[in-house]
């Protein structure tokens, strides 16, 4: 299982803060495609992905136990 975290606008679109799915062995970009299909209008703008609290690349491969966060454009400060 991997854990998915949604923040800010994405949390409102999915209606979820967190969910767990089977997705280990796949690439980050495949996961993004998966959630984009699962949730209508998932991202209107660029979304970054963090795996275990570090920004990940589209080709990174997911492991069992990973925590994946979908990070819409940040606006702190």
């Amino acid at each position: 299982m991997i854990t998915l975290l949604y923040f800010a606008g994405l949390k409102e679109k999915t209606g979820l803060e967190k969910e767990q799915i089977q997705f280990s062995g796949h690439q980050v970009k495949e996961l993004v495609e998966f959630v984009q299909n699962k949730y209508e209008n998932f991202s209107n703008s660029a979304v970054l992905v963090a795996v275990n609290e570090e920004y990940a690349l589209p080709e990174d491969v997911l492991q069992v136990g990973d925590t994946v966060a979908f990070i819409p454009p940040v606006s702190g400060g």
């Binding site: 923040f7 800010a8 606008g9 660029a46 589209p58 990070i71 702190g76």
Partner: protein, 146 residues
Amino acid sequence: MKLFEITTAEIDPEKYRKAVLHASAGAVTVFTGHVREWTNGIQTVFLAYEAYIPMAEKKLAEIGDEIQEKWPHTKVAIAHRIGDLEISDIAVVIAVSSPHRKIAYEANEYAIERIKEIVPIWKKEIWENGQEWIGDQKQKPIIGGE
């Protein structure tokens, strides 16, 4: 105290100034970002900030490391508040000490720029008749959005 933190409590800037002060520090800059009432002619009622807390604190500490690498002999503390903030409330504080003043300014400004680029914190503006999550468009997409 934590030098790099996300907090729900009201921010006291003096706490961070004192955290970076030491006998060789000749200059300290403390930047505070405040909730502004008017942005591009639209009146804000309040702001709501949200963060991916553990990653955000890690990224704030990384910014501190970057600064100490670029400008040795500096000391840095950063805090960002989350939750509902009202006009004039402090959203972020950055304290930088340095033996000399020029670097204290430069490093402090570097910190706020980096916060706006890499730290997973989001701001929602709430107006009289609506609300919106703000994205500053600085982030480079690594996955296709739209």
